[in-house]
Subunit: 484 residues, 2 copies
């Protein structure tokens, strides 16, 4: 009769310990295939434990395949060995000999060193986020909506949030849409991927050159054909869209990043004409920071003047609320909705109900509008202080500032002989994280930089603290003037 | 001199109204290309308004491209018309003639009619979710972590949550991993898509037949080669993986859906041997409901016995916490991490920091373990009551129950002549939403149903309320027995 000492089972319960003893004997070949195990009753009696303990251990061994049972005959050891030349055999032996692997060494790519001022990344300052209102609305949502919070919403998102977005877009962007057209997603990257599945992987996607490099990366990571289209001062070049056979034009007509170009009204109609000319043509209108336009009122969206349902509008709360609350949305033209629901509605939503309902309330109760206004003033103050500090500095006579009235960045063109890469490197050694306009151009080699593209710093100031501005500008002067 | 009546500007501010007047005159051709506009000063004087109002209106028109300015010469109307045969021209005219589109008609695919009992969907009952604890932890997180909440986490997720998951997996699944290996994502669908980009779109993906149909849909929607691999009672067939040239095997060895099969230990080592045999081979181990195994302790994961880093482990809180809190994770083998960070770290995270920090605290403070235990008891009670109601019912003599000790469903095999589709249809007319095992088989035509696959209902009971059980079983009897 099989026997084990059960006097010290460590932290294991009795049946787990027994299971482990038998398993080890099977793995070590002490109990060989076909061996009959003792009956539950006699084994229990022999070990001085209850029948149920043996039964639990046997059940576990059966469920994992170490033993099997035959009706009215009892339990037998399974054949778990492999012939010697079987590809699993060494693997299997190795596993038996060492069953407790060490914890693998940590691997996290080193994050960039702490910088004094970051003119590249967008980050929301903690003092800018309406924590107490958000917490209040979350609390109200949890206490009022327990049923809805746990009910799976339609694949496009909760009706409340989609309706709140509709009302917002109507009031602030003149857009006349229905809640069904709004699709919520966890960030624009996710929505780009979803759109790519909807519009087709076989299509040719066109992105702006220069442009926000991430958009191209998303398309490339999916292995689709993605082409760069040059821009002039009125926007993306329509004749190039035709020359390069583009199907989908992914553009930001309200405010181009990083040049700040606003697509002219003539070009807008040209683009709509291009889109209407062929059934495979669509425009993805990325309206990512339209809320923060300082000069006059925002430009009407392409979506709102589009009659032929060729524009897909995309916007995000990651810019307007917080980059760490992952909520974005797109507005599909009505004729694409049935395709979306047929082909992609099996995808589960990506945004938690808790945040969808809270954001819906935040918009509906007017807090979002207040927040936008407050942030616009905040960003304007930062911008003004930054411009003022530059104008008072030795840089004033060596630089020109353009595109300062739209979005959360401007272009600071420096009169210098330093190549752009040097500019970035030297600034970095002074604790500044900057990027140059030339970095956003595809296929632009340093040797054939056009002069108007060189030495132009893209100054993202949304993450800058007011109290750091003077010092940041002093460091910028120091980097550029001493190195030149 | 241009003149407009500014006596009734409606809800518009003065400059917006002026902007609209001029824009309309340009669009209607009253002001033609090249026309010089009055100087700001004289126009303001003429209209009896301030210079700044005219300036704001002109700025807006310039930024939208309706007019342009020439230094020291003033403002001129842009050429925004198109030649008659230009593809934009009719489009453009149409736009002018009607600039206020009607709201499109609503389009939402009709949701299925309300059912009395749903044996198909997984849904968390509101009384099961720990609202007050969740609200408390959210509140604590918001008050203690304002800085961290607004700081973009690494692409894999916040360190806190990844460490909490590591500790949980070590304790409950015997897995020895490092936080860097854990990648957080908004649902498993999203993680499947990310994995597909990581492992390669050119690979052959293998899914279980029968199986959870959504997995295949995700692969197909991305246009990758996805093949079905048959199962026997020990798990997926390894020789078929070889025959069909699979690179990636997507399996659920701990608990297969819907059959409940637990992959035997011999098959596990065979699978690991298959995976180790070729550098393109990987196993995606979908451990989606391992927390709710009733009999004995959970089966060890493939990941924990894998020595050759060929297993990618995936699990989700959408089953164990709430389907509407969209948090899932995968554990990458160390050698895949550098590829992940190089190729895909530009993707922004998909889960809000607020929920990541709250969940981390929920796990770390022991609430998750308590919740799992409470839910396991809850589900066990539902299952027992359901089994008991079936056994007391007229169905008892006409049915067999299998696989009742793992996961949140069992198989109810009915002795009936009704085809499966009829079973589903008739039950639906009695307010029951059911699905049959045969629906999860790919390529199985009704005419060649194997007898052991027919008439087997997959009874998901996780969303069932205790008080509805008797009535649900009564309706099930009624549907089947009266129709037969």
């Amino acid at each position: 009769m099989l026997t084990y000492s059960l006097s010290d089972t460590g932290t294991d319960s009795l049946y787990v310990y027994l299971y482990k003893c038998i398993k080890n004997d099977i793995l070590r070949g002490i109990l060989t295939a076909g061996t009959k195990l003792p009956s539950k009753r006699s084994f229990a009696k022999n070990l001085g434990i209850s029948n149920i303990t043996v039964e639990n251990a046997y059940s576990l061994l059966v469920s994992e395949g170490y033993i099997f049972s035959l009706p009215k005959r009892g339990y037998f050891v399974s054949d778990i060995t492999f012939p010697e030349n079987h590809p699993c055999s060494c693997y299997y032996m190795e596993n038996i000999s060492n069953s407790s692997p060490d914890c693998p060494p940590p691997y996290e790519p080193s994050t960039s060193p702490a910088v004094f001022a970051d003119f590249v990344s967008n980050r929301t300052a903690p003092e800018s986020f309406p924590f107490s209102i958000w917490a209040k609305l979350l609390r109200e949502t949890i206490s009022a909506k327990s049923e809805e919070l746990l009910t799976n919403p339609p694949c496009g998102g909760t009706i409340e949030l989609r309706e709140a977005i509709c009302a917002h877009l109507k009031q602030f962007r003149g857009m006349n849409i229905h809640a069904d057209q709004v699709i919520i997603g966890a960030g624009t990257d996710y929505l780009y991927s979803l759109l790519l599945l909807l519009l087709g992987r076989d299509k040719i996607y066109a992105v702006e050159n220069p442009g926000y490099t991430k958009i191209e990366k998303v398309y490339r990571s999916h292995g689709v054909d993605c082409r760069f289209i040059n821009m002039d001062s009125s926007g993306i070049l329509v004749e190039e869209l035709n020359q390069k056979g583009a199907d989908i034009a992914h553009i930001s007509p309200s405010h181009h990043y990083p040049t700040g170009i606003i697509t002219s009204v003539r070009r807008r109609y040209e683009l709509l004409g291009w889109a209407a000319a062929h059934p495979s043509h669509y425009i993805i209108e990325d309206d990512y920071d339209s809320e923060f336009r300082f000069a006059a009122r925002p430009i009407p969206t392409l979506q709102s003047i589009d009659k032929t349902e060729r524009v897909i509008y995309i916007n995000t709360f990651t810019k307007s609320l917080a980059s760490t609350i992952r909520i974005s949305y797109m507005v599909l033209p009505p004729h694409l909705l049935s395709r979306f629901y047929e082909q992609l509605s099996f995808y589960s939503g990506t945004v938690s109900n808790f945040e969808q309902y809270t954001l819906a309330k935040f918009i509906r109760d007017g807090y979002f509008e207040k927040h936008i206004n407050r942030m616009r003033n905040h960003y304007r103050a930062i911008r003004d202080a930054l411009l003022c500090a530059i104008k008072k500095s030795p840089l004033a006579s060596r630089s020109t500032i353009t595109e300062e009235s739209a979005g959360l960045h401007f272009i600071l063109k420096i009169d210098t002989k330093l190549p752009d890469q040097e500019l970035v490197k030297i600034s970095s050694s002074h604790g500044l994280h900057i990027s140059c306009l030339s970095e956003y151009y595809h296929g632009l080699k340093p040797e054939n930089h056009m002069p108007h593209l060189s030495h132009a710093i893209v100054m993202n100031y949304s993450g800058l603290r007011k109290e750091d501005i003077e010092e940041a500008v002093r460091r910028l002067c120091e980097s550029i003037l001493t190195a030149d």
